[in-house]
Symmetry: C2
């Protein structure tokens, strides 16, 4: 009555997919963690993730685990590094394909059990299970690099946003400060923003213009190979 039904000539590592989930509340970056309910590292916070099934790709696995553990559904899931340290899991040899997921906080319904899944501010992350501290460092580094090549920010912002929100996002991810007016000019000149509404006449100075992401224009730019410089 052995439960070990799957046998191989050579040892096979287990393969998992983990998800580093980023959100943005208009001011700072948030990261979603789940509290582990079982050993090892029971009670510690970790990234959602789990064992890859034999008939799914790592991205499919990451999305499935994300949904199962947090109820979030997002199309923006992409691998960024595979962690293969021999002793990263005390149970058996496990390698994990780590993914970055971007979700719109504005679309997240608050129904989650806060004891199980919680958003943490970037500077407020507790020590994590497994090698997830290491995974987090790599994820943050990757996010910084990607934001210069792809307008990933638009996956984090609501459909319609202000220039200040966009700037806050870039500043939060890149950990720098920009001059508001120069940032404004640079973004507009890029051409990947369109004004959401034609700025109503009664709008006063203090009411900011609303923008949205222009996917068509971005596709053209991407074709030529562009890069955001900061």
């Amino acid at each position: 009555m052995s439960e070990l039904k799957y046998s191989y000539k050579y040892p096979h590592p287990a393969v998992t997919a983990d998800c580093v989930i980023f959100g943005f509340d208009g001011v700072s970056i948030k990261i979603l963690l789940v509290k582990r309910g079982i050993e090892p590292y029971k009670g510690k916070w970790a990234f959602p993730g789990g064992f890859m099934r034999i008939d799914e790709t790592s991205e499919e696995c990451a999305k499935r685990e994300l949904d199962e553990e947090t109820g979030l559904k997002t199309s923006s899931v992409e691998q960024f590094y595979t962690f293969t340290d021999v002793h990263r899991d005390p149970r058996e040899r496990v390698i994990t394909i780590a993914h970055i997921a971007l979700v719109r906080l504005s679309e997240v319904k608050g129904g989650d059990d806060a004891e199980v899944a919680r958003w943490f501010a970037q500077g407020d992350i507790p020590s994590l299970a497994f090698d997830h501290d290491h995974i987090l460092r790599m994820a943050l580094k990757t996010l910084k690099e990607r934001i210069c090549f792809e307008p990933i920010g638009f996956e984090l912002l609501p459909e319609v946003f202000t220039m200040s929100e966009l700037q806050n996002l870039y500043e939060a991810i890149l950990e720098v400060k920009f001059d508001r007016r120069n940032f404004y000019n640079k973004m507009l000149k890029l051409g990947i923003l369109s004004e959401a509404e034609p700025r109503s006449a009664d709008a006063s100075r203090r009411t900011p213009s609303k923008y949205k992401f222009n996917a068509t224009k971005y596709a053209e730019l991407k074709q030529k190979g562009f890069r955001l410089e900061f």
Copy 2:
């Protein structure tokens, strides 16, 4: 007398590490392929690689396979993407962690069996085994990105090189042409080059200056976070 000695409760994919090996002959990029001696894809060209052992990381595996299949030893091996398509190997479920290796052609001794391993010019690659065509496309894309952040070129060039060789390398990787004088100025201003010899007095105009990579200066630059713009 079953040979299936390793058993698990759930199915485990096999994990391999593959190596896309780049070399540079002073003019163009070369890629090292090995001819497969066994099925599947027997007789087809492929990247060196093989199954990861249970006690080694993917990089250790990549280096070991590289050595075993081609006799090359290089320290510059780094993963760039993990390929997880469900049917990428007809035998069983195999995911592969793909690596980029950079080797100095000047240090490669020609003793290899040309029937088994051969350098191909970049535009001259035959159709490859498995999903290795896909892997190659990704590797070339990754190389283009990395060369803007790290002076990986210096792993491909001999210890001492001329400015033209360096420019040829950048042009080959990025598939663009630069103005010779502007490239020269930009590279010198960066400060990561030192003159190898103080340009002998009898050297005529046609004898180019020799440079080498200044690792100290690069470390300083890297600290600040730099980027090569092209």
